[in-house]
């Protein structure tokens, strides 16, 4: 795939040793390759999200780190030490399970106290630490309840308290908000992020929700078919997607089929020919040599909000129709097929030459919305039109 995919993980700053490091981690279930030699260095104190579609290997990764499954190949290092030989109860990580896995026969308080008691913490300390943890997740009053007497959101908080009361250095969370409704999920996202910052715990957080990942993470590892497709900050993934898959998975985008023609008119720009025959100069966010080679068939990604639509003939500079100009503007000619009202913006659907189409976000306050059927030009600054891997 993207042969230089993991380089954006960056060399670790100075002598900082990663708190958790995966090296060529592989897991096979029979013929199914759940994890395909992934490598990843998790920095102490960061909020790292494993993002990916269902079946991409996120849960498998967490289970290997926690020690519930044994890797087929590769290494897991914690503070530089290989933990392969350690059973889960000897690893310095705690887990918040997808379905919470609260002990049904114990009260909330006993659930939270469980880990401390197993480590034989003094009874008096257990009492205060459990009370503190329950207060932290705002469940101080519900310690005597049984888990089944709590709502989903409350159970989720108990699961969180049960893990953080142990003051782990690394917390593993597997879609912890997946079972909650949207409103509660939004609130919990902020709360989790606040807790993570406040407690200084390293979070390895699994979700399939790209919006959640963008909101909470310091870094995101986008997973696909047991590999890391791209690793980087939320802005990296959103503004500089490495591949068509990343561009499509994170946020909304317009993808245009393109063939590389050569270097562009300005430094850093690549000239491509898109379907329908137009030639554009676009940016290339990652210097992958193979991508820039003339004749490579690939894609151009342009976010809807990066585009402006103007009625044909309206003077916005002197764009070469369907081409690029030195100012770094991408211009595409087309016909409006629909204008869909979406609150603060209007989504303008534009059919281009050669069966392609794009959606542009138009702000009605700045200019009148073009009517369906009208000829328009769609423009974007060249550095926001990106050449991405197939």
């Amino acid at each position: 795939m993207t042969d230089d995919a993991d380089r954006s993980a960056g060399p670790l700053a100075g002598h900082d040793r990663p708190i958790v490091e995966l090296r060529g981690l592989t897991k096979r279930f029979g013929a199914v390759v759940a994890l395909d030699a992934i490598s990843l260095a998790v920095r102490a104190g960061e909020f790292l999200t494993l993002l990916g579609a269902s079946g991409s290997g996120k849960t498998t990764t967490l289970r290997l780190i926690a020690g519930f499954d044994v890797a087929t190949a590769g290494q897991i290092l914690m503070d530089g030490v290989d933990v392969a030989a350690l059973p889960p109860f000897k690893r310095p990580v705690n887990t918040v399970f997808q379905q919470y896995a609260l002990f049904p026969h114990m009260s909330v308080r006993d659930n939270v106290a469980y880990g401390l008691r197993m480590r034989r913490v003094r009874a008096a300390d257990v009492t205060t630490r459990v009370a503190d943890a329950l207060d932290l997740v705002q469940l101080g009053a519900l310690g005597d309840r049984a888990p089944r007497q709590l709502s989903g959101g409350q159970q989720q908080r108990v699961a969180l308290a049960r893990a953080i009361v142990n003051r782990p250095r690394v917390l593993l969370l597997d879609e912890p908000l997946g079972a909650l409704d949207l409103k509660l999920r939004r609130a919990m996202q902020l709360e989790l992020k606040r807790l993570q910052t406040q407690l200084g715990i390293t979070f390895i957080y699994v979700t399939h929700d790209q919006e959640e990942a963008l909101t909470m993470s310091d870094r995101i590892a986008l997973m696909r078919n047991g590999r890391i497709e791209q690793l980087g900050s939320p802005t990296d993934l959103y503004d500089r997607p490495r591949s068509r898959y990343v561009a499509d998975f994170i946020g909304e985008t317009n993808l245009l089929r393109a063939v590389v023609a050569g270097t562009g008119a300005a430094p850093g720009l690549i000239r491509v020919e898109v379907a329908g025959g137009a030639t554009l100069d676009v940016a290339m966010p990652h210097d992958a040599a193979w991508l820039a080679r003339a004749g490579t068939e690939t894609w151009v990604s342009i976010r809807p909000e990066a585009m402006t639509v103007c009625a044909d003939g309206h003077p916005t500079g002197t764009p070469t129709p369907g081409g690029a100009r030195p100012g770094g503007q991408v211009v595409l000619a087309g016909t409006v097929t629909a204008a869909v009202y979406a609150g603060s913006i209007v989504k303008v659907h534009v059919a281009l030459a050669g069966d392609a189409s794009v959606v542009a976000h138009h702000t009605p306050a700045t200019a009148p919305t073009p009517a369906p059927g009208s000829a328009v030009r769609v423009m974007a600054s060249a550095d926001r039109a990106m050449l991405v891997g197939a």
């Binding site: 059973p87 109860f89 609260l102 002990f103 026969h105 469980y114 049960r162 142990n166």
Partner: protein
């Protein structure tokens, strides 16, 4: 609620009442005749004596038989749990050749007619040379104890296995994640999770053992069990004493059921 007359509902209620009578009328007869003030069981009923209970209390053979039955049932429970619970775990957690066949065959001792099980166990014990009275008087005899244990282990295996299949393994992972080793996880998480099934199976084994006749008949040594003792008495016709012992057993069963449902309500 049922303001309107509904023929279907009425028919259902009638049928239910009939079934109830069919089941409980004989029991009522037994209970009533146990306080019947005459040696011969005949109409008219003359209620109001406890003398048959007095006779029962002084019937040495009956009491010995009851004690033997209780010992036998307790030992059968111990053996069946001791073998059945680990067996259920093996079935749930491990793969081995022949596992599917074993799962289907495990109930065989229950399904087989008692006569067959009895005969085969009898030949087995005489083959290995274990006397039917060995262990007496401490226990009713090793063969009958082992026979009950063996025949009833399958009850425990099936009940506990079914519960294990529904048990959420993530709970064990959560426990391991919270620093509990396998042993502590078993005692604190797994066992509490399957406890209703274990207790239910124990109770079932206990009652099945208590009223088992066919297998017991073949394996019993010198000491009769309670069902065999009653059976022996009946050969002289139904006496008021038999009604009294039946009533006592009925009362104890009722008490057990009540206690049991109490316990299950707290469990689940």
């Amino acid at each position: 609620m049922r303001a309107r007359f509904d023929p279907l509902t009425a028919a259902l209620w009638t049928a239910a009442a009939a079934v109830f009578c069919f089941i409980y009328a004989p029991l009522a007869v037994v209970v009533l005749y146990s306080v019947h003030d005459a040696a011969i069981i005949a109409w008219p009923l003359r209620l109001g004596t406890l003398r048959w209970y007095g006779v029962l209390a002084h019937d040495r053979a009956m009491i010995d038989a009851a004690v033997a039955s209780l010992k036998l049932a307790v030992l059968a429970v111990v053996i069946a749990l001791g073998v059945g619970v680990p067996g259920a775990f093996v079935l749930d957690r491990f793969d081995f050749p022949g596992k599917a066949a074993f799962r289907r065959l495990v109930l065989l001792p229950l399904i087989l007619p008692g006569i067959i099980t009895g005969v085969s166990l009898l030949s087995f014990f005489s083959f290995v040379g274990l006397s039917l009275s060995s262990g007496f008087p401490l226990i009713p005899g090793w063969p009958v104890v082992l026979g009950h244990g063996a025949a009833l282990t399958s009850v425990v295996v099936t009940q506990v296995f079914a519960r294990l299949q529904r048990f959420d393994r993530a709970l064990e992972e959560a426990s391991a994640d919270l620093y509990a080793n396998e042993w502590r996880t078993f005692w604190r998480v797994t066992l509490p999770g399957i406890r209703p099934a274990v207790l239910g199976a124990a109770l079932l084994v206990f009652t099945l053992s208590l009223d088992e006749i066919a297998v017991t008949f073949f394996l019993i040594g010198r000491q009769n069990t309670l069902p065999l003792q009653i059976w022996g008495l009946l050969r002289r016709g139904i006496t008021p004493e038999v009604n009294a012992v039946a009533t006592v057993i009925f009362a104890l069963s009722l008490l057990t059921i009540v206690l049991w449902s109490r316990m299950m309500r707290d469990e689940i």
